[in-house]
Symmetry: D2
Subunit: 362 residues, 4 copies
């Protein structure tokens, strides 16, 4: 269980890293949306590894195929299924560490839960699973853009101890995709890239922070009490493997503030209600208020490092040491950007359906 | 919608702050658990206001009544419904600000979504709703304790700029409830209390951070991909009104770390697998590994402050100013502690049912 | 679990027959619907026993109270909770048969599942639980009527071997509520009433068939594949305790027919597409087509009869005999009519929300 | 939406009849079940057309491929995805009737709901979708058999006016698969086959009734109130395209009976509680009692007949006539048998997980 996200715009993913395929079913996309494989591929290509020296050198083509739900280039309102066959799979490095769970990986907890796990490439817990999210998110993004003009962009704002300086939305849109780190502050981007290469040379890995912003989000998304928009966003983000923290608006900074400093006061402009500041990140009482939604997520360092580590041998029941080989990302932060965008799009599309703003047909 | 939490241990709450009652239905509690109103009341009393000078002086007795699901002091496996009638309700302060949404409150976004809102005491978005969560959480806590020996405790670790020093689990258990701030570092507790009283005198409010720890959590809770244990915890926490950030284990601190610094290495002790460190907060790949679960949440300052604020008049469509009167918490952090404990208990109980570790009957 | 119905117009019920109260939470009713307790009471009174000599003589006042979700006579979009306290409860007759499960009742299977059951008045499995459905259904009915002009009526078409003759929709509306059997063919109604009284005198019980018809149902309700409108109707109906069969349109009669006899051919009238016949009962491919929805349900005889019956003593583990005393309906069919109407209304309201035809606000 | 069935043993299907593929994801199958493609193929082959003269002569090979969730021949606890590519697809006959909805088919209601429909071979509403159910059901069947010894068999008991005589469980197991009609009464089987061939020659179609029986079902499956086992069975069955009626145990026959005639009395045998009769079909109060589960479903005649029929031209908005060509089943009843078995298996597996009788691992 646990492989479905959303209530009305529902996404179900499947596939292990070194099994035959990774795929996803999107159920609840309204009929009448123009959609083709290029719409999906474009986003998948942003997530693909081996695009620069700072990511893993695995060559995954990740060609997506739409198997159902689209007819004559238009969605039918039926499940859209998409599939990517696994290629360039090399399971050999995993044979040596079979039944020796890698620290900070899911190996051990899967074993404790299921009594079995696919040790090849992380199996179901592989970061490769996120391509299914990106494929589904591509549809949600397109739907939101066509229906509301919503634009969702993510960018890296921290790598290790290097923080990007604050930039405005236009700069994020313009600059984030122009460098391999996906940092909109181009000066910091350079430093971050160097830091990642240094960490890579040392056989280590490093964490960071990604910020995702959505503009032109309709007001009224989110439900009272448990299915608050920020609650669902928090779940969506924390469901990404390497993410260990989520904050909305000022987030943890709120803890140091006084009410008089951070309350977003209201005013009317062109018959619409706005706030002078946006400390609450576009969400009040769990419901969007029309201001930009701002989310930040903490990404932990990739667990697969070249250094020797202590672990246990599950079969023999004794302490052992392992060295992880294979091709791994020294820093997963830049590749998480499109995944986080996709997850935000999925939450927004789901709530747009739930509120009735998106119906059975466009 | 959105008023139900959980898939198998399901909690549905209802009630507005100044309407007749607040209540909750717990569906999915196994049969055979000894349960009485005192079990619930004990937790509700921890959340109750007016227990010290740093909380609101509203006198809410909050007597809970179990209406169903329990027979001869034992749960039946049928829905347990609990109700608390609203008393000491004073709606007068709200008449003046009717249709003038309070900054940082849910008023405006409810209005945008529903075209109507109960302006008295926050209506459905009132913090008072959390008593329903605490009542439900009391059952989940008891169930987890009886079935697995799980203990869940929360404590305040930051108020404004005052941070508590790190203490161990025993000290949290011993000290957190011994002071009104619920801070386990008793020295900082004193400073925090003074800070809150100062803020109160100035007609302002202040935020903080709460940490929640659960020990003796069975391994194997949580589902792959979307319903990861940490994802559901993130949702649960972020669904608490004032919470704007959630982190697991090292959380945002991960962003500055290298893999070699933070990977939790494994070893065997007494036939069970442990980690030397617990940076991942007891959860790997979204599944509990048996180590303590550690969560921290960022709490924003209470929006209701005495200072004059700018807002809009929804009926007349023009900019106005308001002053919020009434009795409000200058700092909601200490009262959020039992709520956050409750939410963590609900997530764990739900996943214990989903995994089959808890069945139809105890 | 299992006490919630619907995905977007969600109903959660609670309460055992002889515990403190029966109640229901309706989550997902849009904001802006005028609603008061009289709207609910009107429907509850139709279900109430002791209204004629053919039903149980228990005097249940069943006064409903709305505890939340309505403000100034208008729904808020938040959960509407309704409660009825249990009165005229006499648990004495059940003491004698404690741990001696009554044949055809839920006693034994609850015991097998939960290891415990509330033996007083059927506990959670009591027919009394249906008042919560009727209360929720009253809201759904009102919503559907105001939004689409939908009218839902039920009537008894068979009691034992007495079948009513076919009447048209107007006659059902006019006659069904004018006799205690709720049969729209007034001649058969008389015979049915006599049959029930005869069965009652003999300490026995009898079954029957109810038909429910909904007109002015918008086209497009229902989802492909599993959540077909007729599938959800079947579930809704079969979830009523005494119901053991459900059919749509011609139903079981289809089994004897040829395609050429029963295909509903299309034609255009006033720019809208209709069918010459309505053998499919208003649903094609699981989706409403705008024609009247026609459902029939088989109701088994009330299990509680005065005659001696064989059962087992659960504590002593041996075969015994019991005689059930207390006040029971000799025929539950007429009282099921408003319950079945309620369930159909719940299904339609849920699918109207799911399709986006009903939104967050009216 | 609507393409997912089950809460804990969850099945999501996708695919249109003439699009690229039909497939299914099974989420919630415990880890540790031995599973290979032959387990699935065996059941798919029972559903396949063109196996005798009484079914359509389309040659669908329907080779299934497992893409994920199985590793070294054992389930992982992760989603099992299965795919069948569409072959022998001939869309030409559908071009002529494009935008002229076929009576009794889903064409029109899909058009009304979505504003578009895939007119080729019924699109998503095609009977071909049921192969995904059979594939998923094959896993559920295997799981139930290994875990509880549950056996599920279906057989045809009526075609048109020809009713099979009642046979016992052993005869069903022995005879049902030995004739193309799947009727366990071999004499009636002959007559049914002749009837179907006659109907076929006349360019017409015919309906029937299927009975499904499950033995060795554990007691305690099903949830109180809405998610009763019979309610979920009713939904499961009615979600099969051609099914328009469902009954449990005596079903509609109950309507003519008295309580004293049909109450299933209890007795103890070998420390287990049984009933002398099984009129309630193994389910009491919505929960299985350990006796065989007995379900019957009414199947309508195939809508596609050779005779000319009246319909409308959606583009031109006028009444027209059509003749459906192509290869169609004159009677779908025999091919529904494996589908109905699959659906029953899915319901039982889901409830076994929900009750905790089946856990994360076998």
């Amino acid at each position: 269980m646990g492989n479905t996200f959303g209530k009305m715009f529902r996404v179900t993913t499947f596939g292990e890293s070194h099994n035959l395929a990774i795929g996803v079913i999107v159920d609840g996309c309204p009929a009448g949306l123009r959609l083709c494989e290029a719409d999906i591929q474009k986003e998948l290509d942003r997530r693909k590894p081996a695009q620069s020296s700072i990511t893993t050198q695995r060559k995954e083509k990740d060609r997506v195929r739409i198997l159902s739900g689209v007819f004559n280039g238009v969605t039918l309102g039926t499940p859209i299924s998409m599939i990517v066959y696994n290629e360039d799979v090399n399971s050999k490095p995993y044979e040596e560490i079979k039944f020796k769970p890698r620290p900070n990986h899911a190996d051990l907890s899967y074993y404790l839960k299921f009594g079995i796990y696919d040790y090849r490439g992380g199996g179901r817990a592989s970061g490769r699973e996120t391509l299914a999210r990106v494929a589904a998110g591509a549809i949600a993004k397109k739907l939101l853009k066509e229906r509301f003009g919503t634009i969702i962009v993510g960018h890296t704002i921290k790598i290790g101890k290097i923080s990007a300086k604050k930039v405005n939305f236009e700069e994020i849109v313009k600059n984030a995709e122009r460098n391999p780190v996906r940092c909109a502050d181009l000066e910091s981007a350079k430093l971050m890239e160097e830091e990642i290469l240094k960490v890579k040379r040392e056989g280590d890995s490093i964490g960071g922070i990604v910020e995702i912003v959505a503009v032109n989000v309709p007001a009224g998304l989110g439900e009272p009490v448990f299915d608050k928009l920020d609650a669902d966003i928090a779940k969506a983000m924390m469901s990404i493997g390497a993410v260990k923290g989520v904050e909305i608006g000022l987030g943890f900074e709120f803890s140091e503030k006084r009410g008089s400093e951070i309350n977003d006061e209201f005013y009317i402009e062109n018959n619409s209600i706005k706030t002078y500041t946006n400390n609450s990140g576009g969400i009040l009482g769990g419901i969007s208020n029309g201001m930009p939604i701002v989310v930040r997520i903490a990404v932990k360092p990739t667990p697969s490092i070249a250094k020797e580590q202590r672990t246990v041998d599950l079969l023999r029941g004794k302490n052992v040491k392992i060295k992880i080989t294979g091709r791994h990302d020294p820093c997963i932060v830049p590749r998480i950007v499109p995944v986080a965008e996709a997850m935000l799009a999925l939450v927004l599309a789901d709530h747009a359906r739930r509120s009735g703003l998106i119906k059975d047909k466009l």
